[in-house]
Amino acid sequence: MSLGAEWMIDWVRTSAAVIADHRVELITLDREIGDGDHGENMDRGFSAVLAKLDDLPADALPADVLKLVATTLISTVGGAAGPLYGTAYLKAAGAVAGRVELDGGALAALLRAARDGIVLRGKAESGDKTMVDAWTPAVNAADAAVGQDAGAAAVLAAAAAAAEQGAVATEPLIARKGRASYLGERAIGHRDPGAQSTALLLRAAADVAGGVAAP
């Protein structure tokens, strides 16, 4: 099984819906250790993406969809998440350039490129209490799944589960990047909002792929 542009567009639509549903949760997390806008920023960004999806040509490749998401998030999010996710989707597009269908290996490569883009942009390391702490376990889990010949949906499911665990695992950390770094030890006990939105986005990817794969 592999996934094409249709899945990708579905993923984006579902991402927008999931972000909208979790807007307040992300705002609340960001209010604890940031400026309280992460839910608003992400919702603004994905709403703008939704509005542009129909402009895609009928023969758009997965990479074209990712590029559209990238440029739209960069232009509309307004917070750190904009350049970070924007760069992630842009590098992800580069990793699957020209491909019509993405198998498990391609999806793992896509996720790795996205994570590398975030690190390139934001210079965070693992353990800095950022979205990287959700992405890196996700990338590793996806690679491991590919190593066990998992299909596309299973690779995404592994990534999503690892991202969720990674997001939870940011709670005991002190932040060394982003606004939460102002808080020193007082960030302990709070989940990083960007790690949480990462978990939501990867869960959406897996859910949509599962839906595709299931019937």
Binding site: D35, D37, K177, R179, Y182, L183
Partner: protein, 128 residues
Amino acid sequence: MTVGLVFVSHSSKIAEGLVDLARQMAPDVPLVAAGGMDDGGIGTSFGLVTDAIARAEAGDGVIILCDLGSAILTADTALDFLDDDARSRVSIVDAPLVEGGVAAAVAAQTGDDRDGVAAAARTAVPAA
């Protein structure tokens, strides 16, 4: 109650914008803009700074951040005109206005005392 902050700038827009910015991460801290001259022009105002100090004082003292040197001179002069008690609870911290102001606001929000807030302002580096 928290430490209060006064932002002294030559520009009313800078001081007000900094209140908006710091407010996001410090909703409960008295943040008071003292920017521009009395008529709104570029410069500093002894009166605006003096009033701002009074408004920022919520019982736990006040930290003042300034932009350029003449803002510091104005703030220093304002302190000289306070009575000893008020004076003893106010200090001017030598830190970059915007970056130090945000860091100081977060420190005040989380309950740091005046020394802690001043230290946060001084060690502020752009967080990325």
